[in-house]
Symmetry: C2
């Protein structure tokens, strides 16, 4: 397959207009994890105002992307996780939840990251999650379960006391390619920036830390914003700035998140009796834990400079704002909104880069829909003489334009909200507008990126199957 | 203003290419009430399959439309109702909830329907709701509150025992233009089809029924599918096929809607104890009450034939599938899905019409987002040893492709779900693609339709203010 790609690239280069081969061809894929239309609108209302515009709104193209998920037996499922959706975007193949670039029969599916490296492009992954989290992992590694992040977890782990899948066939102990972090550092990537110190500190079967293994693969390993700023662009670069997920930029007042509506004692007697007390209004404020965290835009800027140094061919860069989703799981709307702001800053940088490098495809999309809903403030029935309130958890946020935005979470009563199943938005620059259709499946987004990177900007050429 | 419009039309006709003035120029605006991305996806999953396509998906253009709502004092609100959103689409002005083509200071704002009639276009409104419901009302009437549907309600009414606003200044009793139904029959519309027999039966201050008043305005008044089929195209046509909202096409098994998860007695002692029993899976089945109801597509076909008979200039037609929203309020996902099927059938007819009449702008959009969410089936935490379930109401529906789709409603614990605040999708044909941008506000959708009807297909000309 690598040989076919190389051949095709050569062939296409011959067909391209004069000099076109010499210019860089770049893909910047910006993934807002859980950045569905409720979250886009929540971000717009807070960051730009009800009648304002986000930067994604000013892009020249917009599509809807259907999210496809299979059960382990291959039947359709209507709600995804970040592993199977990132796999669709990275490989063009639909798979089951929890899988990292493997199909439902556990066969590895080649990723756009790997194909790009094989064809001579540089590749970078930048994220606010751990580098080993499902979204970045799916672009440069293959395991049967997303939980197999490090050499320890690949043999089995637990989450809130619940056993998580091991990936025994993938473990190096059994002759496999290793855990996600081991595969990332041996992938040929040029830039890997995010969280995940915990996994670099683990020991491989060669009795070295993953950090030492990375150094053996010529990586500079950095773990602070200042070290990131001082990195050279000759060696590949891995930066991990927290144990796992990076701290988020914002939080609610004093760390408040969505809360339950309180009801008076009388309400125990009948649904029609009693009073309600809704959660107080809150503000969004800086999260003190974020202080030393490199902004996603800073990581992206470093990645863009690194990837474009001494590079005539081009690159594939995936940047993920991961905690739009993670904060929605935690019912923390201010947390999500701050990470939408980070995504917007990344888009601004990508657009500036594309101004100077016109053969740059910029795509912003979400991987799946999430739990948060914007609800009426006050509730439509606040004047009714019976207590009507959301059975879920509610946050009421002061917006900079002086109104109150009510965000509700009610997918379950447990410790973490669940994803939802709506199709997700996709925004693209003019290069993308020539390549994409207004309705796509995630696998078709992959196909379009592949065709662009291989030099064939011809929509409708069909799927590339591995 | 009418004179300005007529002048502008003449002026533009002079500037248009040869013969362009002679061809009809038509707008078909299809509103799916509450047809947000969760509902679009729910419809796609059921009607076309997870990997299938709806007809809206095959249109050549897609945008996101931001919904804008004001408080009565003019501050931004983040969730709308169908009155203020239809007002934005019909007039280009943002207003407060419950208002019908009036601004927050209760001034009438001219609608695209009125402007079209003034400029010589024919106008039709077709809906599965009562003709007097907020969406159709906003295109050809002006009252301070959506509740003022008939000559009785304009003086005051109640809803579930709660007093609803009167529109005393609008009442003919006080020298106003009258209730919504009275304004509709005197508007100069050519076709009005939907529900609302109740309002035609009311008596006006002239001691005649509204039906008699309509006859005075030359309307044929029909109230059955067979009478509709026999209508002539010379006289204006009003058809009302139920007391208020038309019956919907589908329902859940034996009329089942979303239901609560039952918990065992032990769960009363602790959140961590007890078992749960989720609602049984259901099918979508034909709603027996629908039997004699004319399909929305049949009403639309009649309207298209009527409006295009002896008409060189063109028309404005608004078609609403109203009960996508109304069934979501009632937590009846099968009800909503059947009405999405009706919307798809209308789109098919509109596209056929546009094939024969190329200067036809087709726009499909929603007015606001709704409550339903597609959730994981089974819940992600079904394997956990503690009971985790949605605090809302759940429907689990067998889909034709053999999977189960879980729909959840949890905006409140009362008798009717509340709208949500996400931006909504807009789909358009090639004519629309030349006219629209990928991010719009509802007022800008109005502006684009106005510019098209006046003959100026020049995007970015700016807003038309009344």
């Amino acid at each position: 397959m690598p040989r076919t790609v190389a051949l095709l690239t050569t062939l296409l280069a011959l067909l391209l207009p004069d000099g076109a081969h010499a210019s860089m061809r770049n893909v910047i894929l910006i993934i807002g994890d859980g950045f569905d239309d409720q979250h886009v609108t929540m971000g717009r209302n807070y960051l730009a105002g009800m009648s304002g515009k986000l930067k994604v709104d000013d892009l020249s193209f917009r599509a809807s992307v259907q999210v496809e998920t299979l059960s382990t037996s291959g039947a359709p499922r209507y709600v995804a996780d970040s592993a199977n959706t990132a796999t669709s975007l990275a490989t063009g193949k639909v798979t089951s939840m929890g899988r990292i670039a493997t199909d439902i029969d556990d066969r590895d599916v080649m990723t756009i990251g790997e194909r790009a490296i094989t064809a001579g492009f540089k590749v970078g992954l930048v994220t606010t999650s751990s580098l080993t989290d499902a979204t970045p992992a799916s672009f440069l590694s293959h395991v049967s379960a997303r939980s197999c992040e490090g050499p320890e977890e690949v043999l089995g782990s637990t989450y809130y006391g619940i056993p998580q899948p091991a990936c025994l066939a993938d473990a190096r102990d059994n002759g496999g390619p290793g855990s996600i972090i081991e595969q990332l550092v041996s992938s040929g990537a040029s830039v890997l920036l995010g969280g995940g110190q915990k996994f670099l500190a683990q020991t491989t079967i060669d009795n070295e830390t993953v950090a030492a293994m990375a150094a053996r693969y010529r990586f500079q390993v950095v773990s602070s914003a200042s070290a990131l700023a001082a990195a050279n662009f000759e060696q590949p670069l891995i930066g991990v700035f927290s144990e796992e997920t990076l701290a988020v930029r914002w939080r609610g007042t004093d760390g408040r998140i969505a809360e339950a509506t309180e009801t008076s004692w009388l309400h125990n007697l009948s649904d029609y009796l009693g009073d309600t007390k809704e959660p107080d209004v809150m503000d969004c404020e800086p999260n003190p834990e974020y202080a030393d965290t490199p902004p996603l835009a800073m990581m992206t800027q470093t990645a863009l400079e690194h990837l474009s140094t001494d590079n005539d061919q081009g690159f594939f860069l995936m940047v993920e704002s991961a905690s739009i989703d993670k904060q929605s799981h935690k019912r923390d709307p201010c947390g999500s909104i701050g990470e939408i702001e980070q995504l917007e800053e990344v888009l601004e940088q990508a657009l500036e880069f594309a101004d100077a490098h016109p053969d740059t495809l910029i795509i912003v999309t979400a991987d799946h829909a999430q739990a948060a809903q914007i609800l009426p403030e006050p509730t439509l029935y606040s004047g009714f003489p019976i207590p009507i309130y959301s059975p879920g958890l509610t946050a009421r946020i002061n917006t900079p334009e002086g109104s109150v935005m009510r965000i509700n979470y009610a997918t379950n009563n447990g410790f973490s909200e669940e994803h939802t199943g709506a199709n997700v938005p996709l925004f693209a620059n003019e290069v993308g507008a020539r390549l994409l259709r207004p309705f796509l499946r995630q696998r078709e987004v992959h196909d379009a990126m592949m065709l662009f990177l291989l030099g064939a900007v011809t929509p409708g050429l069909g799927e590339i199957t591995p």
